[in-house]
Point group: C2
């Protein structure tokens, strides 16, 4: 089985360690599956060839001997079927896994993005504080629900799987935010997820790609 | 096979026809599969019993003889496996379907929500125009990518499926917005999706639920 994922050749330091190819890198590291990286840089993101693989010009895209696909959630559900370390044990666990992957990406991530991204992409604009406060109100409700659903469990579905990889990747955006202190169960869950050796391997692999492909002016700074 | 979905007993008029149980109703109507509705009202959304089924207290939740699950995207992928009318023809079509369902819910819907929802939930607040403009800028890029990916095809995966149900449900939020006029291919795609008899059946079924359960003050107005 040959597996290839796409990843940006380089991104500015604030985004390093947070680009979404981290998610399949993490899942593949958990599964002990090797992969190659197809670099996206020098305008490739906008080429018809790359858009046929990833319609939005983003990363990651994925291909193996059987299929090619895009969207980190879809890629992780696909990878989960390949590995004893990640495959759901029965139909109910598979269904619950799929549900939580969607929750992470539709119920939680957009609200995290709304809290974090405006200050990064629209610094100083007068609307960002109001938008952030509204996003935080909704996010607080969602995190409360998520914390209750997690309960005393270590992982969302009873054992570690791709739902935890996606959810932890999303919650990680809140690591430096005070809001997570109000949800100690989620803070502990996030810490537990990020302590996994496969997460560390994924981060190192992403950062290694950026180091290898740093533009001269970035390498010099 | 007994199928049950949850739906709010009643919502205010502005939300009627747009609550997300419309999505499984539409898919089940396409498949010709009967279902029963488990009503959510009178505080049931916050009960431990309902939260065990739908952790965020939202709709829809779903159960059949084999599994129960939540999140409209997860529910539609599950329903797609059950029906010759919706089941992917091969592994690649299944992978592409899953990818587009995630795109609709993670790449497109959050930006549509950011354009539309602040004016509904925070009317008159000073930040909503700035937030809307920023959301529209991103959405415009995404719709352009989506339009290019759709190309001359009638449907996202080559034949109608749950990816189209989710994408059309999301794009429908833009029906009264000028932005859709700038993407005539997507406007035509949306019209084509909404012309399907199963969409009409789903809308009628959702509205019938609300009519049956309208509170006295709403019924009188």
């Amino acid at each position: 089985m040959t597996i290839e994922i796409s990843a940006f050749a380089w991104v500015p330091p604030f985004a390093q360690g947070y680009v979404k190819d981290l998610r399949p890198r993490w899942a593949l590291a958990e599964a002990g599956i090797d992969y190659t990286v197809s670099l996206v840089g020098n305008g490739r993101a906008d080429t018809p060839e790359y858009r046929a693989w990833q319609p939005f010009g983003q990363v990651p895209a994925y291909r193996d001997d059987e299929v090619e696909l895009f969207e980190s959630g879809a890629i992780l559900l696909h990878i989960a079927q390949k590995s004893p370390a990640l495959a759901p044990r029965d139909k109910q666990e598979a269904a619950t896994t799929t549900a939580w992957v969607f929750s992470a990406l539709n119920a939680i991530e957009p609200k995290v993005d709304n809290m974090i991204l405006p200050a990064i992409f629209h610094p100083g604009e007068p609307w960002i504080e109001g938008a952030r406060a509204a996003a935080e109100d909704i996010l607080r409700l969602r995190l409360n629900s998520l914390s209750n659903a997690l309960g005393e469990k270590d992982w969302l579905t009873g054992r570690f799987g791709v739902a935890d990889i996606v959810m932890a990747s999303v919650l990680r955006g809140l690591q430096d935010e005070p809001i997570l202190r109000d949800f100690p169960r989620l803070a502990a869950y996030l810490k537990r997820c990020l302590a996994r050796p496969a997460f560390d391997a994924a981060i190192k692999a992403q950062l290694a790609t950026f180091a290898e492909n740093a533009p001269p002016e970035a390498a010099a700074s």
